[in-house]
Symmetry: C2
Subunit: 142 residues, 2 copies
Amino acid sequence: MKSLNSDNCALCSSQKYPIIWANDLFRIVLINDQNYRGYCRVDLINHVKEMTDLSDLKRQEFMRIVFIVEASLRTNLMPEKINLATLGNITPHLHWHIIPRYKLDNHFPESIWSNPKRSEKKELLESETLILIEYIQKKLNN
Amino acid sequence: MKSLNSDNCALCSSQKYPIIWANDLFRIVLINDQNYRGYCRVDLINHVKEMTDLSDLKRQEFMRIVFIVEASLRTNLMPEKINLATLGNITPHLHWHIIPRYKLDNHFPESIWSNPKRSEKKELLESETLILIEYIQKKLNN
C-alpha cells in the first residue's frame, strides 16, 4: 500500500539493492557499497517521512529491527564502530542506514558522507555475505 | 559513574554545550551550530560505545528521549526534515544527533557532514531558544 507523495520516490519504485529479509512493514537490504563490509539499510515499506509520524509501536518495532541488524553485524564482522543514521533529505521515505565502520575504510574516522580519505576496495566475500544474510534472517524469524 | 576507557573522552570531560535537560542516565544539549536551528544532541551520561551494549530497557529509554526531542523540534520549528544519527567514530561514547534540516541550510539536501553548499547564518533567536528549551523540559518532566 503506497501513501501520498510516493510518486517518484526511489524507495517506493523498483528495488536497487537485494532484499535480505522483509515482512509486511519493513525490509532489510544489503547496500552494495561494501567498502563498508556488511552495510545494510532497513526501510519502512510504506512511504512515511519522519519517525515521529509512526505510532509508538511501529517506531519501536522499526528500531528493534535496526538493533538486531546492528548486533548481527557486530557479531559477524567485528567492525570498529557502528554508525546509525536516518537522513532522507533527498528521499523522504523512512530508511535507516546501519553502517559498520572499519579503521581502514575510505572515510574513517569521518562520516561516510564526508570527503574520502582513501580509495581502497575491501569488499565482503560472497561466503561472508551468505553467512551474514542467514544470520540476520534467523534472528528476525525467531 | 565513569566506565573504562573514559579518559580523554570529550563527552566525559567538561561540557562544551549548554545542558537543557538531564536525568541520571541521559542529558540533552543544545549544539551551538544553530545554522541548523534547534540542533540538539542526546548523550548517554555513562561511557558506552554502542547501542547494542545497552540493556533493552535503557536503549528504549534512550530512543524515547530522542523521539521526544524530534517531536519537539518539529512542533516548534517546522523543519523540512529531521536527521537522526549516532556515529561516534572519533568519540565512541553514545550520543544521538537530532538535526532539524531546512531547505536553505548550508548543506541541504546533503548530510551536514558533506561539503557545504552555502555559508549563511540563520541562527535560532534567543526567544525561540528559550521557548524550545522550556517545551522539551516540559515534555520530559511529565
